[in-house]
Assembly symmetry: C2
């Protein structure tokens, strides 16, 4: 019995996760029923509870997985020395990673308010970890005299908002290629930090 083996939160079936991510991103957590998710998987609603203790935990697990994957992926990137190079790598990584996971990204930004306080705090902490990665680059760049930024915390938020915004308009079939988008965004970011 899956219900008795180990902790729930980690083992949600991949098919369920995929269906839930898709549906939550399209219609929103509150607007999607467990029955809809089950139908997308090809199963009855009751069967979902073999894999997750409840709907809230399902959402939380999806969001946590998204953030932890993001942090792991960034840490796995080779790290160069110069702040300017690191900033370029961060920009390109951020755009690429988020464009590859539009649904997960959407959920992570839109469904924060549907998390219970304890879960909200956990996701918030992961997000702050990611922001800290960028802020460290900015601070190093300022310390080395390469960047001109009066407030690295504010600039961190500004840059992340700008970069994540790509997800709202980019279409694979559109006028601009990913590589071109990456390049133009990086040019704007580089100039905005005064480098």
């Amino acid at each position: 019995m899956a219900r008795k083996t180990g902790s729930h939160s980690e083992i949600t079936g991949p098919r369920i996760r995929e269906a839930a991510v898709r549906l939550f991103a399209r219609h929103g957590y509150a607007a999607v029923s467990m029955r809809q998710i089950a139908a997308a998987v090809g199963v009855q609603a009751g069967a979902l509870y073999l894999y997750t203790p409840d709907k809230q935990t399902l959402l939380f697990d999806l969001m946590r997985a998204h953030m932890e994957d993001l942090l792991r992926a960034w840490q796995a990137e080779p790290m160069r020395r110069a702040p300017l190079h690191r900033l370029e790598d961060f920009c390109r990584f951020h755009i690429r990673y988020h464009l590859d996971r539009t649904d997960g990204t959407f959920i992570s930004y839109m469904e924060l308010r549907n998390l219970e306080p304890k879960n909200f705090e956990m996701i918030g902490a992961l997000r702050r970890d990611y922001e800290a990665a960028l802020e460290t680059i900015l601070r190093d760049g300022v310390a080395e005299g390469r960047f001109t930024l009066p407030d690295t915390k504010l600039s961190t938020m500004a840059l992340i908002a700008m970069l994540t915004g790509v997800n709202t308009w980019f279409r694979e079939s559109g006028r601009l290629s990913r590589e071109r988008v990456e390049q133009i965004y990086w040019d704007m970011v580089r100039r905005s930090v005064g480098a």
Copy 2:
């Protein structure tokens, strides 16, 4: 009878609108019931239907009002000549306006997916009008050789995302004053367009 006088969509009582904006922003459209809105106003659920034909129209009216007010407010701003001045005015206006209406802004960005197709298209058109205001400034600046931007459409989206992002972190009681935030964002924007 309110129900028979004129078109519904325009006359939703101010108390209902305020309560709905607050609740939709806090919990999301799908998660808020008509009964909750009614309770916040101090009335029974049925009474709401004297002022709006249904929940969907209530959401749509709130979003349309937000976008139309935004466009009107920008058009009412005095318009300077030089693209650089106009860009500065736009940045400061955008930040100020959105910080003054955090709930309405939140809804306008988060609840698009809960609009029926026809309503979605209408709100989308208003948003494109607003984006066009910024893009015109950027194009003029490029034409005059003041800005260096390979793609003004992309830059429009990038800048609006960056500026609107202020709403996600700014707190009136925080470390930075509005004026200081405006100034720093404007510096980043100015540099990002190559001016």
